[in-house]
Amino acid sequence: MEESELGLRDYLRVVLKRLWVVVTVVTLFFVGAAFQTWRTIPMYRAASTILIERQTPRLTTLDELYKSTAASVDFYSTEIRLMQSRSFAERVAARMAAAGSGGGAATAGAVQGALRVSTVENSRLLSVTTEGTDPKLITEINNAVVDAYIEDALARRVGDVRALTTQLAKEAEDLRKKLDDGERSLQEFKEKNKLATLGEQANVVSTKLDELASGVTAAEKERRSLDATLDALKQVPADDPKILTFLEVRENLGIAALRTEEGKLQQDWNEAAKKYRPKHPRMIALQSRLETVRKAMVAEVKNVIDGLRARYDAALRNEEKTRQAFEAQSGAKLANDRLATAYASLSREVETTRALYQNLVKRIQEAAVTSSVDANNVSVVDRALQPTVPFRPQPGTNMTLGLVLGVVLGVGLAFLIEHLDNSVKTPEDVDTALKLPYLGHVPMMEGKSDEKDRDRVAFTDVKSHISESFRGIRTAVLFSAPAGETVRTVLVVSSGPREGKTTTSINLAIAMAQAGNRVLLIDADLRRPRIHKAFAADDAIGLSSLLVGESTLEEAAQKTDVENLAIMPSGPIPPNPSELLGSQRMREVLARARERFDRVVIDSPPVIAVTDACVLAPLVDGVVLVVRAAHIGRDVVGRGRDLLRAVKARILGVVLNGISQRRGGYYYGAYDYSYYQSEDAAGGGGKGRSSKRSGAAAAAAVDKEKA
């Protein structure tokens, strides 16, 4: 087929020609689609939509907690990943199990398997779909997923706040406990130490202590002065006048009187001592008196010292006593001071705890406010509704798809086969690819399994359409010669082996004989002769023996059971067929055969394999090229044609052999075989078309003329 200018008709032709391919592929796909549909377990799909507002709430505090989440670029894909994560599926499954939905079928794996999440283009929506065989289950899963997600998103978005709140609350709780403890222990402390008013007590203690301290100092001072006086007094003898330098002695009235008396006595004595002698009674009296006074004076000093000593002892005792009191008072103050310190620290601690606690409570309140603000961030747009119709299989779509795909691929395959198959199959191929006239075709002899039945079908099965086709070829062959010339010697050739040369030549010869001509069929295939077998003749004498002069034409040409038909078997196979066929004797044989017969049909070996046919071709009126349809490549046939042309053979045309009605049957109907049937059937009522009748009638006329 010419590659150029493929018209719509050509396409249609290819499709029609390969209709079985198209139909097979379409059927396959259709059945496949049907089977697939039938086999597919119905799948349901539930869908819901979630809206995610990505506005960052204006928060006064804890802003920093939101920065990261809100600013993320692939926020949505993160969300999708999250929803498709294993852990999320597990949470959903757990949630469903807790809620008692899903009937136990909603495992994490089932959730993950059923779930598909995708973004809705150019929106803030997430589409959540679940697919599965159980519509109820997937709906429940879908809703559980959405719920879990919203809850989760919330938890995640305020998770940190929550965590903080919880932590703060816990801290606050601790603080509160600590505060309570502190206050309680302060109270206990107060009670234990009976410190109703700790301040006053401290003052009393302190004043008393001061008094006592000055008492101790005074006592000590008195004791020390007495001690010093006593010490000094001990140094001076009592009768020493220096004793009078001591105030205590001087201030003593008795001593002072005595001293005065002593002074007067002394003066008396001193005046008497001037007038009297020491032994003078006056003098003795005065002396004794003086002595008495002096004795009294010593006694009196002694009394003073004793008095002082007594005072000293008293002072010492007093000091001792005062000191003891001071000491006691001093210890009391110390204890009191310690208590005060402890108390102060206790109450300080309580104060600090209280401040902390109050601060915490404030922050907790702030956090609580924050999380409640954030709760509006994610919301459900559409909840999943339980599907009633499965989304898969969709019989209509499947079947349509199968059909369309089948048609497309089938037609494609048809064209591919057509393209790849370069064998000669149709009369068009003969015309366009080989550029040779078309003589006719021989149908595929399907019913005839034995070669013997095929070989002489034109004789054994005269009324068959196969025989008709041979008669058609006969007519075409006879008309293929230019006007004024007759085709009397025909060489039947083919490019390759087993294309049907022998079958064609036998039946063409029979058809010619049936038209009333005397016909000689020569088996010039000296390689694999088989015409003698078809006619159950012996091949001991034939063309070869004739050519070597071993026998005569009369001996070599044998009568057959077909009227008007003689055959010349190959004869023994010679070692050099082409030499024999190209010999002068061969020309002579043909010349004599032309004299004795109206038509000579010659069978030959394949053109390409051996030169025999090319040797014979110039010796005959015309060459019939048999092509086994759809078996032989155009190049091979073309090569045979070229070899024949090279030896100036006149190629009458091509016989397409073995055309099947199924393969390329479209042009088969172009021929009306009933006509030939009526012609050859004795007295047949012609139902053929007149145009064809005229052609055959002309052929018959030619035949008669020759006879």
Binding site: D538, D539, A540, P572, I573
Partner: protein, 252 residues
Amino acid sequence: MIDLHAHVLPGVDDGPKEPADALAMARKAWADGIRTQFATPHTLNGAYTTPRSLVLRKVAELREALREEGIGLELVPGGEVHVHESILDLLASGELPTLADRGRHLLLEFPFERVPGVVPDLLFRLRLKGVTPVIAHPERNDELQSSPKGVESLLRQGAWMQVTGGSFTGDFGTAARDLAFLLLDLDQVHLIGSDAHGVSWRPPLLAAVRDVIVRRAGAERARRLFEENPRRILEARPRGAGGGGMPAAPAR
């Protein structure tokens, strides 16, 4: 059974030396079930040249001896002709021993190692003379053993194939046995001969071979090989002896 190939004539080739040996062979053949035997002495093989006249005389003598001995074996003249340039001349002069002396079948022997290049021409010429070449033991030919396709072209030229019985029983090696069976399976064997040379060495025995063939190809085939086809040769019309008829194709 008919034995197509036997060297039984005493003192003409490498067969039996004495008539007594020939008689012993005949007895053995008879005992084995062979009723007819072709006496096919070597001819034109370089060592022996056994002209037709000698074959006929020797056959007549041995026939007489058989009759005297009361041995029922029927002896038929023949010859195993080696491929030789003088075959056609001898055939023309009537000195070539043909099978059954009818001038229609020639037992043709190739050298064991090859198929001579002249064979196609020789076969063609023989056939032109109305002689059907019968190829002696093709299965023992080295060239045909290595390319059995060669048998096909011989067949196409109209030759018949005669296989030696011993080839089936492995007497001539595995290659000969394999080709013998291949030809049998392809139905390309026409005749069987014992190719007997003596009483003990290569004896005239075919019964065992017949059993093998019956088992392999059936009794009908065995009948054709041992009876029908040899009988065609026995009954072939001498060329030119009226009728102008052609010998029928062998039953295959």
